[in-house]
Symmetry: none
Subunit: 219 residues, 4 copies
């Protein structure tokens, strides 16, 4: 799973590659549905590439226009701001999000989840994009909305993991899954982005074990 991500990540950004965006909706019969500019894919790709290369501040509309071979006005016609453009670019990326893990044990599932998070945050090019976007969510309302949505969506997908765990008796029934996910994701964020520390290899199992014990103990 995370493996799939890693494999692809070495050659091209899969998680955030928007090149399939609108694949099926763009045309229907002969009629343009007008859901974006003709070169939407190139624009999104350029935006994400530039974001990974130069960060949110270094990302400019003009730069995106130039790299995607589109006129600046075309971008402004469709998105009012950098944040909105980036938000749209991430839409296409989201659909490629990996399925939630099902390893048979809660421990395994959560380790897979945390592994995915840390990989996302540390392996280029997804790391550049993810870190920039999450960091920039601080400044841009549009991005914040997308980030929120991303987390909500992520949590919804992990729900079965917890349902199964409760069924297996691995967790008390009144466990708060959001708290567990936040603890895991938050610890990774602090360690990787704020502390800028390398992750030793037992960070993932140790963190998961701690959180799990906490979940069981307080149940």
């Amino acid at each position: 799973m995370a493996g799939t991500l890693q494999d692809n990540a070495t050659q091209r950004c899969v998680v955030f590659d928007a090149s399939v965006y609108l694949m099926s909706e763009e045309r229907q019969g002969n009629t343009r549905r007008s859901s974006g500019p003709r070169k939407a894919e190139e624009i999104f790709d350029a935006a994400l590439e530039l974001l990974a290369e130069k960060g949110y501040e270094g990302l400019t509309i003009e730069g995106v226009a130039q790299r995607s071979g589109v006129n600046k006005t075309t971008i402004y016609r469709w998105w009012p701001s950098k944040g909105a453009l980036l938000g749209a670019a991430l839409l296409g990326a989201r659909r490629l999000d990996l399925a939630p893990p099902d390893t048979g044990s809660l421990q395994g599932d959560l380790e897979a989840l945390l592994h995915m998070i840390t990989t996302l945050l540390t392996t280029p090019p997804s790391s550049g994009i993810a870190v920039s976007v999450l960091g920039a969510a601080t400044h841009s309302t549009e991005l914040a909305a997308h980030v929120q949505e991303f987390f909500a969506d992520r949590l919804a997908r992990e729900q079965p993991v917890f349902t199964r765990a409760v069924a297996r008796g691995e967790l008390p029934a009144d466990t708060d899954p959001m708290l567990l996910v936040d603890l895991l994701a938050g610890a990774a964020w602090v360690r990787v982005v704020l502390r800028r520390l390398p992750l030793d290899e037992d960070f993932v199992p140790r963190t998961v074990r701690t959180v799990l014990e906490g979940a069981r103990g307080t149940g």
Copy 2:
């Protein structure tokens, strides 16, 4: 403790007020040590105010110069970039960090810590500054360094809390304090900044309880 913070936070940003910056170092005997421009305090104050008002992207050197009544060149003479200026401005703030809590129980101490973190992230004006800075650390090396330092420092100060807890038998001796702090801080960050959710009032005790159980269980 947290009370002290709150009290102050309601009227003025204490944690990040740089106006006492260099208070003791600026002069030594009668000699100017040349460690900054004459109006350093005004500059730092202006920088932090503007940061809180407009966020990192909206913060401009020209704006700082104008508000602080200083010429633009003066700022450039001393700091090469926005990040560096902000880093310097935060230096003075750090020294006002509150003493680590000592409530007599680990639970109480950690609740005080988490409370402080959430207050910092949610109560203006510190919230604007803290969130902006931490978010911008993504883009700026100078800020990243300061954030790292901040976390390291924070951890060092909390150390006695854990030492005492171990002495009291509340924690196993081989506990990793950094992990616990990261779990707490990270959960708050995810909840407040990324998810943009309001914190219900038992978020703090519940999170601390979970983390604590985890720490004990895995010991």
Copy 3:
């Protein structure tokens, strides 16, 4: 005569109102002759209104399209440039040009002519249009052609005035009428447009008298 112009000028631009453009030529029997878009009148009116409001530089094809309720492409289909459009718009206006005066004396006729010219140049809305068009003829070949034509036409119409004057013995037979017209029109242009001076009320008779004396003296 000039009175007719004045009367109309106070309420609506008659001299340059194109709303009757193509009235008779547009259809022949039941067949469309394809000599212009369906909303030609609206387009011309819009063009002239906008010209009077914002001058030649401020006049844009998009503005005309919007005001006339026509798509931009429709205008481009029929006229290749702003100048050409304006030229066409002026065509309809010309047909409303007033008949040359016949007051019984050359002096009277020329005063009527000069009066008409000054009225045209000073009374809105014709003043806005006339001054703009004549000024813009400097930049646009199409407009220049129309202006030329206008002057040639004007001269042709005044011809009877001079013929009658020669017959009456008021002018030598070898008088150059064009020179006289140019002197009158030119003086008005310089005074009104270049010098921006108000015209005192004996400007017209005095100028005509001077020119007439010149014509007689050199005959």
Copy 4:
């Protein structure tokens, strides 16, 4: 006189060459008097060249910036609009205006004046500039002001011509010089710019003779 103009006009625009602008005022001792950008001369030259080449509409600030090797912002720092820039550029030109003629007879003086005017309006590069500026005065308030000033100045300089003529008994004492100048200049303008007719070689003497007769006859 007019000869001088012509001679120079064949090689370089003298009447409108601004390259000596501010020659003496720019610096005083070592202090910059701040009366314009450092490359004011280049800017003015570029502006006038481009005006002659492309007309007023085709003249762009960006074009001027590029040709004069200056940044666009530098131009905007000093002049708020195209009209203002052009106005300033003409200031330097004006100071090179030729002295009024003194041929000994009014006829000769006025022929020289009209000759100068027609030369200005027909001989490149001054023709391009003069015609464009006078035409554009229609659209731009700043230019209009300069044109007014130019004419007032021109008239003031011609004053001695008329004073002498009255003294010589060539003109009645109550002659209106402005009217005569306007008749001459206006006729030239109509003929050259509005009618676009070539000037046959006796246009100048014939026109002057007519106007002179008129002046004498009405005196």
